[in-house]
Amino acid sequence: MRALTIALLATLAGLTPAVLMEALPARANEKPIALKKAPGLDKVEANCGACHSLDYIQMNSPFPNAALWDAEVTKMIKAYGAPITDADAAAIKDYLTKNYGS
């Protein structure tokens, strides 16, 4: 029920409900992670944030180059089954490389 509420709120906010429909409510202790505001951040928040908090991105920065960020996003899709569209994946890789890459 709570996940559904979050999905509805996400829909109102213009996020990707297909992903968030399955997302779990954040843990009570979880605080929002403010990533850098730049093009693609909405895709990162909607897709990556559905399965894990966004501090994973901060802690793995700034050392990954474009190839490593590409490999990480591909791993999330292929190995972890993240339902990310090709267009969103491209936007996410671009955002990560430009804002949290080397």
């Binding site: 992903v19 399955e22 997302a23 779990l24 954040a26 843990r27 202790n29 979880e30 605080k31 992670i33 850098k36 559905a50 399965c51 894990h52 908090s53 501090d55 994973y56 991105i57 901060q58 802690m59 793995n60 920065s61 700034p62 050392f63 990954p64 490593l68 490999a71 990480e72 190995a79 972890y80 089954g81 993240a82 339902p83 804002n99 949290y100």
Partner: protein
């Protein structure tokens, strides 16, 4: 503690990064993280308390990955409320959810490699003969954040480990009750936690039958004389002394004997080390291939815990202390060097509380001239294995046992 050196370093680093858009370093939050960790981690990590826990170093909220600050490693036993927390997947049942509530928790035993299948409740588990073992639980990727070049993943510093006195039933006794067929090769564990999306592989692990049948491989329901903390596997978890934490299934609800190798993601390709790079006595042969093999026993290691890197000491003698551990052969010796690794002097070992436990050590550094004093520790175990001076690179960033080095400022 925040040292002057670290403050200055943090300030200059912050100034250098002021134009980069990166947030300021976490030193402002009272953390003293190793400079070798990725900048992004040092900027984002904070000290935070999970329910029932002292402040730990938060690496990620969801799934929760929190490491233990070094000062909690000054004793051989790590308190439950300071014990690190590590999850792969974010769907963690609440402690009072029926799947974890001891009144309703059930452990299913069976599998095609067993003669029978049955379920056990917590009371039935506690009626079986109880065994206690003091053992180190260390994440395979402890110190991954110190790898150069960096390896992607959870960027652990030194604290993804702890040592506790575990009490539980022998896994062997449950397996004997199920009747293990001679064709069985592995014992497979699943826990009640799961992924956020259905397509993510559930965290399932296996160990070889020979390791499952050891007297100290347990289904533990107590940790340091108390029920397991929720985020350390309540109400019961698997204890595999000597082996890295990946096999220590939390919230265990299923144990299966199988006649074919477990083939899930978390056994292959995850948690693999290249063949031939590390000394390995305990091998997991049913999972080995030509290129790699599952990580098994911990490599010998030690950590200086009495002083933070960069701490200021006076010119009189300095009493160093720390801990050493290995995969269960036992610690033979710890040596300390004060000259960059040329000369080594034997440290005094503390009480031996078991071959799988942390072993404390102490060493008095004589009075020293003002300036920098770098101290290093090196442990050797009872089969002659010792720590490495140079990092052994491997794709997933496991088995970091480079000799720990702390620089003190003699003032």
């Amino acid at each position: 503690m925040i040292t002057r050196r670290r403050l200055l370093e943090g300030a200059s680093a912050a100034a250098a990064l002021a134009g980069s858009g990166l947030p300021p370093l976490a030193e402002a939050a009272g953390l003293d993280l190793p400079p070798a960790l990725p900048h992004g981690l040092r900027a984002a990590a904070v000290l935070e308390s999970l329910p029932g826990k002292k402040p730990l170093i938060k690496l990620s909220y969801r799934p929760p990955n929190y490491e233990t600050p070094i000062e909690h490693f000054r004793t051989a036993i790590t308190p439950n409320d300071a014990f690190f927390v590590r999850y792969h997947l974010a769907d963690i049942p609440a402690a009072d959810a029926s799947v974890l509530d001891p009144k309703t928790w059930k452990l299913a035993a069976g599998g095609e490699g067993a003669n029978t299948e049955f379920t056990l409740g917590i009371d039935e588990l506690k009626q079986m003969p109880a065994v206690e073992v003091v053992a180190v639980n260390q994440c395979s990727g402890n110190r991954r954040g110190l790898f150069v070049p960096h390896v992607a993943g959870v960027e652990w510093g030194y604290g993804a480990m702890g040592c506790a006195r575990w009490k539980g039933a022998r896994l062997k006794d449950v397996l004997d009750k199920a009747g293990i067929k001679k064709e069985a090769i592995e014992i497979v564990f699943n826990g009640a936690d799961g992924p956020a999306v259905d397509k993510t592989p559930d965290f399932i692990k296996s160990i070889p039958v020979w390791k499952a049948m050891e007297e100290t491989t347990l289904i533990a329901y107590e940790m340091n004389g108390a029920p397991l903390p929720h985020l350390n596997g309540f109400p019961a978890r698997i204890i595999v002394p000597g082996w890295t934490g990946t096999y220590w299934m939390k919230h265990v609800i299923s144990i299966k004997a199988v006649t074919k190798p477990e083939s899930g993601f978390w056994m292959n390709p995850a948690y693999r080390i290249p063949i031939g790079k590390f000394p390995m006595v305990a091998r997991f042969l049913t999972q080995e291939n030509a290129a790699n093999t599952p990580i098994t026993e911990m490599v010998v290691n030690s950590l200086i815990t009495s002083h933070a890197d960069g701490a200021t000491v006076n010119a009189e003698a300095v009493d160093l202390g720390g801990i050493a551990w290995d995969g269960g052969y036992g610690i033979q010796s710890v040596e300390v060097s004060t000259d960059g690794g040329r000369a080594w002097n034997a440290a005094t070992l503390g009480q031996d509380i078991g071959r799988y436990a942390f072993r404390t050590f102490s060493f008095r550094v004589p009075a020293h001239a003002r300036g920098k004093l770098t101290v290093m520790a090196r442990a050797t175990n009872k089969i002659g294995q010792s720590q490495t001076a140079e990092l052994i690179a491997n794709p997933a960033g496991y088995h970091h046992n480079v000799m720990h080095r702390v620089t003190l400022i003699v003032a």
